[in-house]
């Protein structure tokens, strides 16, 4: 039996202070890594560039690399960063909101809603431009978010009800997407790249259109970090601490809708990053969302860009879509990671 031991007050002040500095340093290191990977993403491709030429290609219209870097690789890289933020944050908020460790941005059906809307746009309305996809994607994500909230119990929503409603919606919408693609082969062709998830279509106009939504989603997500922390201990405990679970849930779903809608619109449903990154980051930060969320927002783009660069290198001069690379490389790694974690625990 444990007895009340008279212990000297632990040096928590210093310990917490030191841990805080370590976490800030880690975040800075992650940002540096993002910088390095971004430069690599500008340099590597079917036509590799020396690092020196990358700078010229960015800033000097007279440089021979200008068109390549400025018009193709820069938007592609920017899109990778934005999509990474969306997927990493979306996954982390989703896992916190549903208290479900296997939640990813796909779980609540919001990706499915965006996909269904885009398929409808391509097949029924004949929309062909990626710019056109953006609005349909957001509309689909938004409609599903509202449906989800209504079906999931509205004011009485619980994590389990949300996850169940989301899975049901997701299944129904994806069967619709598959049906449309089977019946309409022309649409299938146009959809193929998009449904796998690819950054190759990076276009400055898409980046510019998606960026504000990502920014807003980022702010909302970081804004609910503290109340979501309180809700991690149960709704009753959260209310006891003075948090408002109902309002937090609405804001968190809005954030997920913005982030998932943006990511799906820009590069199709890239799976796995949203599931994997929060788990990897949790090892670094623990379950405190005030640190977990910013880390996810920085490290998910790093992983996505690394996957994209890998896809450009392995199949040169052709490419593998980033959505395929994340699963092929990430899958085995994640299995190994989960297995090792379990063994450490037991």
């Amino acid at each position: 039996m444990s007895t009340l031991v008279e212990t000297p007050s632990p040096p928590t002040a210093r310990a917490v202070g030191a841990r805080r500095s370590a976490r800030v340093a880690g975040l800075v290191a992650a940002l540096l890594a993002l910088g390095v990977v971004s430069v690599a993403s500008l340099a590597v491709g079917a036509r590799p560039l020396p690092i020196g030429d990358v700078w010229g290609g960015l800033t000097d219209p007279a440089s021979p690399a200008y068109t390549l870097v400025h018009d193709m690789r820069l938007p592609r890289t920017a899109l990778g960063v934005l999509a990474g933020i969306c997927l990493g944050l979306g996954g982390a908020v989703m896992q916190a909101l549903t208290r479900n460790p296997i939640a990813d941005p796909g779980l609540l059906g919001i990706n499915a809603g965006a996909s269904a809307a885009v398929v409808t746009a391509i097949s029924v309305l004949g929309v062909t431009s990626f710019l056109g996809f953006v609005w349909f994607s957001f509309a689909g994500a938004g409609i599903v978010a509202v449906l989800l909230y209504a079906i999931g119990g509205g004011r009485g929503a619980t994590p389990a009800r949300l996850a169940l409603a989301g899975s049901a919606l997701s299944a129904a919408l994806f069967s619709y997407v598959n049906a449309v693609m089977l019946l309409d082969t022309a649409a299938l062709d146009r959809m193929r790249f998009w449904t796998v998830g690819s950054l190759a279509a990076g276009d400055p106009a898409i980046v510019a259109r998606v960026a504000p939504f990502v920014g807003l989603g980022l702010l909302l997500a970081l804004g609910v970090a503290r109340p979501l922390n309180a809700m991690a201990m149960g709704d009753d405990a959260a209310r006891g601490l003075g948090a408002n679970p109902r309002r937090t849930r609405v804001v968190a779903i809005a954030a997920i809708t913005l982030l998932c809608g943006a990511a799906t619109a820009a590069c199709g449903p890239i799976v796995f990053v949203g599931l994997m990154v929060p788990h990897l980051v949790r090892v670094l930060t623990g379950p405190d969302l005030r640190w977990l969320l910013p880390y996810c927002a920085v490290l998910a783009p790093v992983i996505l860009l690394v996957a994209d660069i890998t896809g450009r290198v392995v199949a040169r001069p052709s490419e593998l879509q980033v959505g395929i690379v994340t699963v092929v490389l990430g899958g085995p790694f994640f299995l190994y990671f989960v297995r090792r974690r379990r063994m450490e625990r037991s």
């Binding site: 039996m1 444990s2 007895t3 009340l4 031991v5 212990t7 007050s9 632990p10 928590t12 002040a13 310990a15 917490v16 805080r20 208290r99 460790p101 804004g223 503290r226 922390n229 309180a230 991690a232 201990m233 149960g234 009753d236 405990a237 209310r239 006891g240 601490l241 003075g242 948090a243 408002n244 949790r282 623990g286 379950p287 405190d288």
Partner: protein, 265 residues
């Protein structure tokens, strides 16, 4: 009657359509260690949930300092009234210090983040509950008794003059039950008003300064344990014949269930 900052006036409590209690009026005397007792499904926990504004009454009102609790700003309320719910979830991989630190939520805001004061209160709360030595341990690794003390430390870190505990001894073995109750008694002696729901009538009689007995959502008796716990009351509320004797340790009432048949000699 003594002053009561916290009271329920003519409460009707219900989950969806299932009514638990009607026209229930109850006051929590200031500075008391109030224990709510009654048989299963009598509405004990429901009453506590209403008093802590987790459950909104269908009718009537919970008053704190004369004001409807629903009109209190959430964080200000959380600095006055702490709650330890019956089932809380410890986030996966959280350390004891981090969990206790989450009790500081109502004292923080976007602009007012972690401070020296938070630091000090968290350390004090851990010392007061005897979990200081566990500071860096993971909550999932602790025994049930240790874990419960960590949750109480979290509620303490909220620094509230009133503390509500929903069945704090459930799932603990007898030694840990007594340990947690002794801790609650200490917190009460330090000047807090403590309200707890307890299953064990003898524990309630030993530790409470004020007992509230419920049956079918009605208030059956309230007052000092010595006045409330009688053989007649226990039989009418729990439907169990018994004798009430003096607890040889404390002199408080001790309920001894009547034997249906004599012990096999």
């Amino acid at each position: 009657m003594t002053d009561a900052r916290l009271s329920g006036e003519k409460l009707t409590l219900a989950y969806d359509k299932r009514t638990i209690a009607q026209n229930l009026t109850v006051a929590i005397p200031d500075g008391s260690f109030t224990v709510i007792v009654g048989p299963n499904a009598c509405g004990k926990s429901t009453l506590l949930r209403a008093l802590s504004r987790v459950l909104t009454p269908k009718d009537g009102a919970v008053l704190l300092d004369g004001e409807r609790i629903s009109a209190w700003p959430a964080k200000r309320l959380a600095r006055t009234l702490g709650l330890l719910p019956q089932s809380s979830i410890a986030p996966d991989g959280i350390t004891v210090t981090d969990l206790v630190a989450r009790g500081r939520y109502p004292h923080q805001g976007l602009l007012r983040q972690w401070s020296r004061e938070d630091e000090r209160v968290v350390a004090e709360s851990m010392d007061a509950t005897g979990v200081g030595a566990l500071a860096d341990r993971y909550v999932d690794e602790l025994s049930g008794g240790q874990r419960q003390r960590v949750w109480i430390a979290m509620a303490l870190a909220q620094q509230t003059p009133i503390l509500l505990l929903d069945e704090p001894t459930t799932f603990l073995d007898i030694a840990h039950q007594i340990e947690v109750l002794d801790l609650c008694a200490d917190l009460h002696e330090q000047g807090r008003t403590v309200v707890a729901v307890l299953h064990d009538l003898n524990h309630a009689a030993r530790y409470a300064t004020h007992l509230v007995a419920l049956h079918d959502g009605r208030l059956v008796a309230e007052g000092a344990p010595g006045d409330v716990v009688t053989a007649e009351l226990v039989e009418s509320v729990f439907g169990m014949p018994c004798r009430v004797i003096d607890d040889p340790e404390t002199g408080t009432p001790l309920v001894v269930p009547a034997a249906r048949r004599k012990a096999v000699a």
